[in-house]
């Protein structure tokens, strides 16, 4: 049970406080309700580029990092398709430094030309390092475009292409900031060795006077139900063939999300999971195989990915996966199997909650979904999933018409 208090400032900023007197540290976590899904399709990668610019100085403070480091603090941030999250951890005595820094960059940025020029280059290097220069680095670029015809999950957080990042202008930066980086589109979580009244006082003092801004109303194109299987073949300079399959599942707030989540664990969660045991250990078709989903807010993809044992035909491997899915769709799962993945979920949650940073970001994340207290009832939702639910949902999810398949083939294969 994670306890917290919540209040809202008059400008709409939601503040959640999670005191924990057992640590000498404090965490200040600011979540902005904007992610790559909110981008213009012609200017992708912007939410993430913008995250970099948040460290390039704010209206009253020329640099963000140094004053925080002087106060003994550390910070970082990340952007997903759904949201952008900034967090810092520092000795609790120096809590106010974090308020000062975070509130100033919510008030306004410095909008420095130099910072934009440099961060465009840095992000392009990040793009190259992770998505171009790595074997299989562009898989999700291809796979998202295959699986989503309409919804902005079509592109990755890093952006659809380098040119979009290279072309970002200071005007784009300003309009993005004033549209999304406002108190009414943000959630502030303060956790650790802090007191509620002190946090209330500091929140009023530093954030209270920031203009509310306009509430951003998200109105994204909805992905239409897929009507037929899709198959894409790509050749690339990689040593091994790889297979990716994805099925549309439910949004994060849908009651059936929990069933879909447990299905991924039954199929691909660890050494005793179905796919690993059958396809890696017994049939020896794959050298590794995983089943997962990304926990996205809007309907996501249940994904199976695996690298093939050299010499195995990819269609054989694909059929073997289908066969495993068929077993689940026909016979469901045993009570013991279901209990196993529930136990795993319980344990994973307990370990996650060990870290103050995780607790703070979870509170922010669940508040974004509608209610921070969801994090305390989450386990019950998993416990309530039955073997019938698994059987029913597996038949819906693994409907062949809902399936996207990517054959990512080793190019040099054909020459040998």
């Amino acid at each position: 049970m994670i306890s917290f208090e919540k209040f809202t400032l008059s400008n709409g900023l939601r503040v959640l406080v999670h005191p924990d007197q057992s640590t000498p540290m404090a965490v200040v976590n600011v979540l902005y309700d904007v992610g790559a899904r909110d981008e213009n399709p012609e200017k992708t990668g912007f939410a993430h580029l913008f995250e970099h610019l948040m460290f390039g100085g704010s209206v009253n403070i020329p640099v963000y990092d140094e004053p925080l480091q002087v106060a003994g603090g550390e910070n970082n941030a990340y952007t997903t398709n759904d949201l952008t999250n900034y967090y810092c951890q520092l000795p609790a005595e120096n809590l106010e430094t974090a308020f000062w820094l975070e509130s100033d960059r919510m008030l306004s940025l410095a909008f420095s030309k130099k910072s934009l020029d440099v961060q465009r280059k840095v992000v392009c290097e990040e793009f190259r390092e992770h998505y171009i220069n790595k074997p299989y680095g562009d898989v999700w670029h291809e796979f998202r475009r295959l699986a989503y015809s309409t919804h902005p999950y079509r592109w990755m957080t890093i952006g659809a292409k380098l040119e979009h990042i290279e072309q970002a202008t200071l005007e784009d930066v300003k309009s993005f900031f004033f549209k999304h980086y406002t108190p009414c589109n943000a959630i502030l979580v303060v956790a650790g060795n802090v007191e509620l009244e002190r946090v209330r006082e500091l929140s009023e003092k530093w954030f209270g006077s920031i203009p509310a801004g306009e509430k951003y109303h998200r109105n994204l194109p909805v992905e239409p139900a897929q009507q037929a299987p899709r198959l894409l073949e790509r050749k690339a300079q990689v040593p091994l063939d790889a297979l990716y399959k994805g099925w549309h599942i439910y949004s994060r707030t849908d009651a059936r999300y929990y069933t879909a989540d447990l299905i991924t664990d039954i199929l691909g969660g660890g050494g005793s999971s179905r796919l690993f045991q059958s396809l890696v250990k017994e049939k020896k078709l794959f050298s590794n195989i995983e089943c997962y989903h990304l926990g996205s807010t809007d309907p996501g993809l249940l994904t199976i990915e695996g690298k093939l044992v050299k010499g195995i035909d990819i269609k054989t491997a694909d059929l073997a996966i289908e066969e495993e899915l068929k077993k689940m769709m026909e016979n469901g799962v045993t009570e013991q199997e279901l209990q196993k993945v529930k136990n795993k979920t319980e344990s994973a949650m307990a370990f996650e909650d060990m870290s103050l940073l995780n607790r703070a970001s979870s509170i922010a994340m669940y508040e974004l979904l509608g209610d921070a207290n969801l994090m305390n009832t989450e386990l019950q939702r998993y416990q309530a999933v039955s073997t019938e639910d698994i059987l029913r949902e597996s038949r819906i999810i693994f409907n062949p018409n809902n399936c996207n398949t990517l054959y990512y083939l080793a190019e040099n294969e054909s020459h040998t």
Partner: protein
Amino acid sequence: MNRKKAPAIKDATAFSLKLKPYEHYTLDNGVPVYCIHAGSQEVLQLEWVFNAGNCYEESKGIAAAANFLLKNGTSTKTAFEINEAFDYYGAWCNRTCYNETAVVSLHCLTKHLGTLLPVVQEMLFDSVFPEEELQIYKQNAGQRLMVNLKKCEFVAGRLIDSYVYGDKHPYGVYTSPLDIEALQLAPVKAFYEKYYKQGTCALFVSGYLPPDLREQLNKNFGQASISAPSGILPAVQSVPATEKKYRVQNDPDAVQGAVRLAIPFPNRHHPDFQKAIVLNNVFGGFFGSRLMSNIREDKGYTYGIYSYIQNHIQQSAWLVSTEAGKDVCEATIEEVYKEMALLREELVPEDELNLVRNYMIGGILGDLDGPFHIMAKWKNIILNQLDEQYFYQSIETIKQVSPEELRELANRYLQPENFYELVVY
């Protein structure tokens, strides 16, 4: 309210840091157990640290294979059944092979410990190493290696270690696909017999511990024929390469190069070590370092650049590591050398040094948060054969090392002509 003025802070160097002491006892066979009981979640972490790293192996890949295959079959359980035994209780049992040590770790809810310890006991003392499991391991490890060898950063990491230590040294040796192909069961089994079943081991337990932990550990591990580590490690002799500069082509399509610079550096017992950690932070140890400020935040050559001292027990190396655009790799190296020159020639300004001191102390304070982190600090101290004075000395060093001492250190170590220099692209 003046938003231009920073709120008053308590200087992080004014904090008094305490490393929570461990509880220590030995099992009937003399195997030492170190415990940290703390935390509010009812979970724990248990590590069995064997002296079974790759410095004990006679041919390449044996130590890693023995470590990995511990979980792949006992006389009563198949690999699947072992996995199922952990998975059913939501527990994770991992194993990792290092240079001196090889570790088996268990993460579980405290309430399930009693059920899981006998499974670990079986793995450690009754593993059977089925031939089929070795074949699957060879095939999959070989394929994973093929993928990694396409990555410039992976290749660079292996090569730079081999230059610094020599490719026969446990820290510099690397396995090729052929080495994996050549693995045989007999030496793996023999290694297991000698270094696990009859080996030396220490246990580290942290988290929310059950009251009868000691009895449980004694019952499962105190009767086995393992013993306490002797503290004597096999002598290793480094044979650094004579050639210093390397440019290696690995991937014709690469758009970035993996840049690595390195010099040999002594271990933690050397009087320069703790001061060098401070100098390293100024140089390239964190986001606000000089390398990062210059090469990422000013030039935009890279997504990130870091310097660090390797975490080895017997000898070490001081490295600079980055992935930079192919056309700016040489310019990046030049900037790194310029930053070295500044550190050799000029004193680090008080403001900057103060920032680094505060940042480091704040980081240690954050690192002491929670039982797993506290145990990680202790484990490092114990495995490096240091004591708690080392922890308190390191804090004093951070608080007191002078700009003059840092400049002197930079003159001793940060000399470009002594650095191995590698770009893999």
